[in-house]
């Protein structure tokens, strides 16, 4: 007996609708779950996630416009009373911070999607199919990054509308956008990990409560130099702050004057922090995903 002989093929009555696809349909397509399926399956999964947006245009719009609202809120409501150490226009200072905040909020999108799939048994359905297992996660990653890029584009439009500009050429601006998306990529794995740990979309509120202080305890809205001593240090070392500071440096926006080591090394740290986060949360997520079967 050979090991790879296609196994009992149910002999289906022709014309019986339930039986019109023979099980060999999956077998003929090559080794099930084989590596060469990783990319086509990931693309199928990406398209599934994109189809969600088409079916939920209202949610997508709210998701894209919420950060714009925060820009307007902070820029016009509180902005007037803000004076920056080192001088400069508050709104030009605020906009790069808001870009990073939009990336941070993306964590909630990832969390909501992954935890809903896990809780509803959809993840288990995928795990029972002969697809490449990695595609569940890579499809999510590609879709979320596309969403992040769209969100960033909307924010750039809003920034330009309120007078923000990149002052040092398109090249450096693109580098700043790249760093922002790198941060989003790192947070993707945090979102996936948290979702696989709690497996409950109801916990989204808890994640939102966690995300807000993470955003405020940074240099996104105010210069750490203006905060009480230890709080300023925490804010300066917040990974989000490095991306924001790097953005301000590359866009040529006011930076609120930072003398600390971390503020002086914003651009390299805006690479190091996300890579560190990926190094921690990528393996954790993979391990957690495998443990669904334990």
């Amino acid at each position: 007996m050979t090991t790879s002989t296609p196994t009992p093929t149910p002999t289906h009555a022709t014309g019986a609708p339930v039986a019109s696809v023979a099980p060999t349909g999956a077998l003929a397509a090559g080794a099930p779950g084989g590596l060469h399926w990783a990319i086509p399956d990931a693309w199928t999964m990406t398209r599934r996630n994109l189809a969600h947006w088409v079916r939920q245009p209202a949610q997508v719009l709210i998701g894209l416009l919420f950060p714009v609202m925060t820009v307007l809120l902070f820029g016009y409501l509180f902005g007037g009373g803000m004076t920056l150490p080192g001088g400069g226009d508050y709104r030009a200072f605020l906009v790069p911070g808001m870009f990073a905040m939009a990336m941070l909020f993306g964590l909630e999108t990832t969390f909501a999607a992954v935890s809903t799939d896990a809780a509803r048994g959809v993840t288990d359905r995928f795990r029972s199919l002969p697809m490449a297992p990695s595609a569940v996660v890579t499809g999510r990653a590609v879709a979320d990054m596309l969403y992040a890029a769209a969100g960033l584009a909307v924010m750039v439009g809003a920034g330009l509308a309120i007078g923000w500009r990149w002052e040092q050429g398109i090249g450096r601006a693109l580098a700043a956008f790249g760093l922002l998306l790198l941060l989003r990529f790192a947070l993707l794995w945090v979102g996936i990990f948290l979702a696989l740990v709690v497996e409950s979309p109801e916990m989204l509120v808890a994640i939102q409560i966690l995300v807000w202080p993470l955003g405020f305890l940074s240099n996104a809205f105010a210069a750490p130099a203006t905060m009480p001593g230890w709080l300023g240090t925490v804010a300066a070392w917040n990974p989000l702050s490095s991306t924001v500071a790097a953005g301000r440096a590359l866009f040529g926006n006011p930076d609120g004057g930072g003398e600390s080591w971390i503020a002086q090394h914003a651009v390299p740290m805006a690479v190091v922090w996300p890579l560190l986060i990926v190094a921690v949360f990528f393996p954790l997520s993979v391990r957690r995903y495998r443990r669904l079967g334990r």
Partner: protein
């Protein structure tokens, strides 16, 4: 592949969650093309067993083979040959029914056109053609269940696992699901279904495996299980109360065990060895003795009785068998 080899073989499957043993050495064998019902009370380990066989869960001990492949070492091969319908409807709520089926079809590597064609076919088969374009969010529980079942059939699998497939369905929905399962079996698919409905096991299954606390406590065909707790009984209702004693004497000669008498309701009952001979002999002997009857019947123990005698002999394990909501429409 050995044609006589069972399609599903599980040997000594163990699974613990913390200190709790969900499976404590479960053995299960299902021949090719058969329907096996795994019957057990809440928490018996049915879902755990199905998840292990469908490669979703790793066993802590024992081994299992599905369609000739080991569920732990050859997961991808197993997954290419099974369909799974879990206890909970596992479909994407935001997408439409058709989008769901196309998605699962493409992920089963059917190719775009075949996946679309298959989706249409299954929607029609499960009475979802009209609602196929609507988001699943707006489906009723029964529609969701049918969509879930359709998703399990994308590949016309070699083995189909159904975890409580008719829970939450109305009698009509249940009959539709039963009909689809029978149709599948007719086309050669092996089915493993878990259920709490004894009636479902009785109607669909070739073999039944009763599990409790993680291990099999009885197995056999529905008939074998019914015989296991006693064979047929003859039951009589006589017209005149005065005839009860006379009828008891008649039945005593025919019965294979003690005769139970309920004089108030003019009923008599007794176990018999050979059902047809006992019936004709009773009718003849009663007529000879001039005793008129209102009712005379042969009765087999129901699976409910089998189940109770198997699982409730220990007073701590009281279980009320779940009943199909109202009564069946078939």
């Amino acid at each position: 592949m050995d044609a006589t080899r069972p399609t599903v073989v599980a040997e000594g499957l163990c699974k613990r969650y913390g200190g709790k043993e969900a499976l404590a050495g479960l053995d299960l064998t299902v021949p090719a093309g058969a329907v096996c019902a795994v019957l057990g009370p809440n928490g018996a380990g049915k879902t755990t067993a199905v998840r292990i066989l469908a490669t979703l869960l790793r066993p802590d001990g024992g081994r299992a083979e599905v369609a000739g492949f080991d569920v732990v070492r050859q997961g991808p091969e197993v997954r290419a040959r099974i369909g799974l319908v879990g206890q909970q409807a596992a479909v994407d709520e935001i997408l439409s029914g058709r989008q769901n089926l196309e998605l699962f079809g493409r992920l089963s590597h059917l190719g775009a056109r075949a996946a679309a064609h298959r989706a249409d076919e299954l929607l029609a088969r499960f009475g979802l053609a009209d609602t196929g374009a609507k988001a699943v969010k707006g489906y009723s529980g029964g529609m969701r269940r049918r969509l879930d079942l359709a998703a399990g059939l994308i590949l016309a699998p070699v083995v189909l696992f159904l975890d409580e497939p008719t829970t939450g369905l109305d009698p009509r929905g249940r009959n539709e699901v039963w009909a689809s399962i029978r149709e599948l079996v007719g086309s050669g698919t092996t089915v493993v279904l878990t259920t709490q409905y004894l009636e479902e096991a009785d109607r669909l299954a070739d073999t039944i495996c009763v599990i409790d606390a993680g291990r099999a406590i009885a197995r056999g065909t529905p008939d074998e299980l019914k015989n296991a707790i006693g064979g047929d009984r003859i039951a009589i209702v006589v017209r005149e109360a005065a005839d009860v004693a006379g009828a008891a004497r008649v039945i005593e000669r025919i019965a294979s065990g003690p005769v139970e008498v309920d004089p108030d309701r003019r009923r008599l009952g007794a176990p018999v060895a050979d059902r047809m001979a006992a019936l004709t002999e009773t009718v003849r002997a009663l007529a000879e003795a001039g005793i008129e009857t209102e009712d005379i019947a042969l009765r087999r123990p129901t699976l409910d009785e089998v189940f109770f005698s198997l699982t409730a002999n220990d007073g701590s394990k009281l279980w009320t068998p779940a009943r199909p909501d109202r009564e069946e429409a078939a």
